[in-house]
Amino acid sequence: MRKQTLSLAAVATGAALALSACGGVSTTTGGDDGGAYPSGSVEMYVGADPGGSSDLISRQIAGGLSDELGETFSVLNRSGSNGALAAAEVQQAEPDGSIISIQNASLFAITPLAVAEDEVTSIDDFDVVGGVSRDDYVLVTNSENPWTSIDDLKGAGKKLTYGTTGVGTGAQLACALTYESGDIDSEAVPFDGGAPALTALLGNQVDTACLQTGEAIENIENGKLTALSVYAPERIDFLPDVPTATEQGLDVEVYQYRFMTTPKGTPQDVKDTIWEGMQATFETEDYQAFNEQNSLTPLEVPGDEVVEMLESDRERYASLVEEYGIDLGDAS
């Protein structure tokens, strides 16, 4: 009898534990039962860990879509290989809009320069719904250093180190192009993401670093870091006093942007519904404040324009990398 009571207690405890564990698992009912989209909860894969800008943007859009379209859009983090693992999830999914993803341009335009042929993710395997926002890179140095422009770096008189947010990232490409095309003696030091690179720069462990604007702006504004250049086509609103690389005589334009994708062959009406929901989200004050907070420039253009941008950026980057003999796959 005693034994039985204990077993019952065990089952009860176990059930309670299992239930709480289940809190972490999302369930999806799919959206292919003929009704209007979305007919059930939608999973949005993000190819990065919680907390980074990719994750935050996905969560912000997911919240907006849930409000606009009435079903739950939940974010699933599937980080790894610069987003290639999340991309694979979407690529393999049923093209019914139940699994969608906001993806990064770098996976399609920059990563191919750094990885083997068979690891390349192609944009042709997805339908692009529309653009979301642009995230700019900025070249920064610790303000203890005397440099205030790229020209100053040329006269530094020593081999300069630059921290990057990893191999095959836009930050690495922007910095590598700056130093190579500016003919400045340099050494790349890859870090595991933006935060460690920022820490190293604040401690003056590396001379310069290329970071995303949102990661660096706090410390630029409080004077701990000096911004030397941005890599956008024109000056960005968040750092109006910082000249572009082009202004400083270097033909370097590198930026990250994000856009909504669905599996190849998703019905047009589903994509239209998602795009309408996104456009309604873009209009909200909440979303605009979010962009402001994270130093993101809106890039709310239709899907075919995004595809064109990706194609031209990829070709442009490939020819620049070839011209200056840069091997993104080998930082050392």
Binding site: S7, G14, V25, P50, L56, S81
Partner: protein, 505 residues
């Protein structure tokens, strides 16, 4: 000072107190559940907390984090499943105590140590946050490399098993750390062309396999049909002697934990590890460690709570998250429209001091709650393995899936589970392997980073003051046991040179 006191008036608002309580309760619960860590929990709750007032939301999320440090102990002691990586070393003596029927004592001393460690750390945080943050920035790649090297050495001295076997396990751990795409030249290492392995093996998955699944399998075979630990849990209040025994360990653990927690990257893990190794070193009876030494529970549990608290310093003063959980808190702050960074203290003193001071209250709540609740958790022990094993296996599998939403991870965990089971059968401890695995990646990447910065000149490691000091400690830690062994042999067989040996030392 005014802002500090205002912080208390922020915390004691009924709503904030309630969120503090909810936070620490959730934290303790998920700490008990192997696999569901504070980072994952925060990720799940993030969509909900954004609807709450920012200060209350951050107080609650912080509560989840330090509450989990209390909860993690419980599974370490009772089930030999570290709920958190920072509770790994607690397993050695905590589980040994549980087997002797002293699970209650172990949990009681851990709760008291945790409380003391956290409190010391909060006081120190309040006083030194701005100063310490500046110091932490002097840690560059060279310093991290030196620290990791010291850590690898310390690994060989922990663990209850044979030192040579510990070294072998640690070496395998270092090798496992090389799996994945090389983060400097992108070449594939042991990935078998699989994208799933391109980013290497996930530490949490490996640890859950080796410790969790391995232990479940081993227990099923060893004690099939028998009760896990038959003894009822006696008084959770430790005796006066036990308290006296644990007090110095708690003191040292608090200080060590505070300092190591400030360093970005793996602070709490390294703190618990270093605290355990320190206790073993200073102990007059090191052979008790791994067989139920009370200091072996007190020191790491004190240190990991102290480190968990002090890891808020780089986040709140510099906007740099020191670990995955702080990363989630960073994300939550951004979602709430607050940029963590140097301006936080000036712009939102209510938030800064509200959160810091909520930790005093939260830890008090945890101390009050965890001692009586231990009795409830302990009942899990009386469950037969045949019932417990499938339940824990199920929770572990669910938990490992939720980390990366990856089915592949489930298989990786099972493979390491079988490996952990086989290791145990032939007398290898999985602990050193897991810890070397973590430090391996840190060591390799930072050595290479440092060499890039030094333009290939390795003397930079010893000429930089902090890394030089750490390396000197490393040499000391490596040479001291040998010197001691020699001395012991000399004293055993009287020798005319004993006098000189002493003066040399």
């Amino acid at each position: 000072m005014d802002a500090f006191l205002d912080g208390f008036s922020v915390v004691t608002q009924p709503g904030n107190l309630l969120y503090c309580l909810i936070g620490v309760l959730i934290g303790m619960l998920i700490g008990v559940l192997p696999g569901l860590g504070p980072a994952a929990t925060m990720a799940i709750l993030l969509p909900i907390v954004v609807t709450v007032d920012p200060v209350a939301a951050v107080i609650m999320l912080a509560g989840i984090y330090y509450g989990a440090q209390y909860g993690g102990t419980i599974t370490s002691v009772l089930l030999r499943l570290p709920g958190e990586a920072s509770s790994v070393v607690t397993v050695f003596d905590g589980f040994a105590l549980a087997k002797q029927g002293k699970a209650g004592t172990a949990l009681g001393i851990a709760a008291i140590g945790s409380f003391v460690g956290a409190t010391v750390s909060i006081v120190a945080l309040s006083l030194t946050a701005p100063i310490v943050a500046g110091w932490a920035l002097d840690f560059g790649p060279a310093e991290y490399a030196a620290l990791a090297l010291l850590g690898v050495l310390l690994i060989a001295t922990i663990g209850s098993g044979h030192p040579v076997k510990a070294l072998i396990a640690a070496s395998v751990g270092l090798l496992l750390a090389t799996v994945g795409r090389d983060s400097f030249n992108n070449s594939q290492r042991f990935t078998f062309d699989s994208l799933q392995l391109a980013d290497g093996l996930d530490f949490v998955v490996v640890a859950m396999g080796l410790f969790g699944v391995g232990e479940i399998l081993y227990n099923l075979e060893e004690r099939h049909g028998k009760v896990h630990v038959p003894a009822a849990v006696a008084n959770v209040w430790p005796s006066r002697t036990e308290l006296r025994q644990a007090a110095p360990a708690i003191g040292r653990g608090s200080a060590l934990g505070f300092f190591l927690g400030v360093l970005p990257g793996g602070g709490a893990v390294m703190a618990s590890l270093a605290a355990y190794a320190t206790e073993k070193r200073v102990s007059k009876t090191p052979e008790r460690f791994g067989r139920g030494a009370i200091e072996g529970v007190a020191a790491p549990e004190t240190a990991n709570n102290a480190a968990a608290t002090s890891s808020f310093i780089p986040l709140l003063t510099l906007g740099i998250p020191a670990n995955a959980s702080m990363g989630m808190l960073f994300a939550a702050l951004l979602v709430l429209g607050i940029t963590p960074g140097p301006q936080l203290l000036e712009e939102r003193p209510d938030l800064f001091w509200g959160v810091v001071n909520s930790m005093y209250i939260g830890n008090l709540l945890l101390l009050v709650l965890s001692l009586p609740l231990v009795g409830i958790f302990v009942r899990i022990l009386r469950v037969r393995p045949a019932i417990l094993a499938p339940i824990t296996a199920l929770i572990t599998i669910l938990g490992v899936y939720t980390i990366n939403n990856s089915v592949f991870d489930i298989f990786v965990m099972i493979v390491f589970g079988v490996l952990g089971y086989l290791m145990k059968k032939v007398g290898f401890e999985p602990g050193p392997m897991v810890l070397a695995f973590v430090l391996g990646a840190l060591l390799e990447n930072n050595v290479r980073r440092a060499l890039l910065i030094f333009e290939g000149d390795p003397t930079g490691f010893v000429t930089r003051p902090i890394s030089g000091t750490i390396l000197a400690l490393f040499v000391l830690a490596a040479v001291l046991p040998i010197v001691q062994a020699v001395r012991r042999r000399r004293t055993a067989t009287p020798h005319p040179n004993t006098q000189r040996e002493d003066s040399l030392r």
